[in-house]
């Protein structure tokens, strides 16, 4: 079977865009879904992940996959400290949490600039590339698409089959009741925040080879990550992240290919404004409603 190179390239672009949006938004949506807190320092946590991976790979000489794992754990640890010192004072005050994490992002970005200077030597993109017709496909992006799918499965397993997942879902549904039944909700919050931070670090490390490593690199993830989260909503972490990144990529890919990357991102914002006009609580709430209706229909 002969595939049209343009069609193949569209599919590939669609996959990379979806993987990028998913990776950029994942940590953010995990925290939002659980605790109703928007972490505006998210971009800076991704930047930290990229820095840790770069230092571990280029200076300590660790193999890249190991460096990514190291980033996950070190940023998760940093997230734990942030939660214990600052974020936990802001539960139930959504706007206060937004503002305080924004202050953190300024300090982290400028602080990194002062410590490490304006640039870091980049990581070489691992793996080669295939070419097909006049288009070329990077092996590394194919691996990232695979990792995104693995992360979806991993998170599903975590929330569905582990004790933490059960307690987390209980806390998300009704924190007071969960507490009354003996769920250590404040520990669940700490764990969730550090999981979200760790995932941000992991994504930052994974995306590091594809971008320049600089103190303010977090800013480039801000717009796509937040649009994905707004469109995804907070009703269900996994369906929100997956649904929203797939839908937005389906919008961004053709427009980006036809009119350039910037207009692709503008299209994301316009799409987000229209989508929230139709579904104010995001895709995940709509999916949830459909599933509930199906379940109700099957019971009766």
């Amino acid at each position: 079977m002969e595939l049209d190179p343009l069609a193949l390239s569209l599919i590939y672009q669609f996959g990379t865009n979806a993987a990028f949006l998913f990776l950029a938004a994942l940590g953010l949506i995990v925290i939002l879904g659980m605790m109703n807190i928007i972490n505006l320092a998210h971009g800076e946590l991704m930047m930290m992940g990229a820095y840790v991976a770069t230092i571990a790979h280029n200076q300590a000489g660790l193999p890249f996959p190991l460096a990514v794992v190291v980033s996950f754990f070190s940023v998760a640890l940093f997230g734990t400290v942030l939660e214990l010192l600052i974020v936990r004072r802001f539960y139930g005050r959504e706007l206060g949490a937004l503002v305080v994490t924004w202050g953190l992002s300024l300090v982290l970005g400028q602080g990194t600039f002062l410590v490490f200077g304006p640039f870091m030597p980049a990581i070489k993109i691992p793996g080669g590339s295939y070419s097909y017709g006049s288009f070329s496909f990077s092996e590394y992006w194919l691996v990232l698409i695979g990792i995104s799918i693995a992360l979806v499965i991993g998170l599903y397993w975590l929330y569905r089959y582990t004790k933490y997942g059960l307690q987390a879902r209980a806390t998300m549904q009704n924190a007071e009741m969960a507490k009354a039944l003996g769920v250590p909700t404040s520990r669940v919050y700490t764990l969730t925040f550090s999981l979200g931070a760790g995932l941000a670090g992991l994504s930052g490390a994974l995306l590091a080879p594809t971008s320049t490593i600089a103190p303010f690199m977090g800013q480039q993830f801000v717009a796509p990550a937040f649009i994905t989260v707004v469109v995804g909503g907070a009703a269900n972490v996994i369906s929100g992240a997956v649904g929203s990144s797939v839908l937005l990529s389906a919008i961004k890919t053709p427009i980006g290919m036809a009119f350039g990357a910037f207009l692709g991102t503008v299209a994301l914002l316009v799409a987000a404004l229209i989508i929230i006009r139709i579904m104010p609580n995001g895709i995940s709430a709509t999916i949830q409603k459909l599933m509930d209706r199906r379940r109700a229909a099957s019971i009766s």
Binding site: N36, I38, I86, R89, F90, E94, L95, G96, L98, V99, V100, W102, G103, L104, S105, L106, V107, G109, Q110, G111, F113, L114, F216, Q219, V222, A223, F226, I227, V229, V230, F262, T265, V266, L269, A272, L273, I274, I276, R277, P280, N281
Partner: protein, 348 residues
Amino acid sequence: MSSKILSLIGGDADVGTSRIFWVGFVIVVILFALYPTQASEFRASNVAYYLLNIPLGLGMALLWGYCGVLSFGHVAYFGIAGYAYGIIAGNMAGNSFGPIAGVLGGLLASALVAGIFAYFVFYARVREWIIPILTLVLTLLLETFLGQTAGYQWRVGSVLLGGYNGMTGIPSFQIGSFVFMGYSFYYFCMVIVLVCYVSLRMLVNSNFGQVVFAIQQDPLRTETFGYDIRARQWLVFVLSAILASVSGLLYVQWGNYITPSQVGLLSAALPVIWASVGGRTSLLAVVIATIVLNWVTFTLSAQGNQYAMVIIGSALVITMLFFPRGIVIMAAEWIGRFTNRPTKSTGG
């Protein structure tokens, strides 16, 4: 009629209702008016810069403190107005009506963008955290767009947009043949800031202001009383965008240039910081914080101090942690405890 206006100005929707307060207020205004007689044109021009940021801060206080809607992207309207003024006045250079047309065009352009944006977010009744996120995204996209407008093909009429180097040579404001520069621009800023402050005080004390405050306290209850909260939120958002544009217009008239970094992430943080540090529920507290923090940032960055953003960011974190209602407000209440004890008046 005049007593009604006075009661609107002196109402208790902002701090300071006593006679002592108003005497102090008038003294401070007179001191600001006398400042240029004692200072060089350069220093007066620096103070004019602190003053011209006040409408932007007031817009944040109105939107966030009184209406309960947080925007991280009001600098977008600052920038849109500034660029629109630059394009219009620049193309009409030599015509003495150019600057006035630029001001009108700038205000209109900002109000239009804000109106369309606010329609989508308020009429969709989105959750409250979505608005700050989308406003931030809007301003970041604007920065990206303006940043890539370098080169000769990006021009409107005879004005170059200029990419990251920004737009230069923007005409100063003028009425007839009188050009506002140096000392006269200082007084121009001062009058505009005073008008903004006093009319906003009247607004928050009016019936409309009371309803807006009720929306912040409990949207559902306000709505069941029969008020259309979406229309009022929309109006307040557009109004605060217009205030941000006033600052943007004054800024380009002051420095005769504007760069995309004015709508970037760091600039976007500033109005939120002024409102938080001052205390968003008081217009006057935000005015004070805007002047003081601008003075601090300006002095630090004039010395080439790279820690300016770290200091400003830490100030925001510390304020949110320990002074959630704002440093100026909490300090004023602390002072008020002493001054109010013997006479039982309500000063400070």
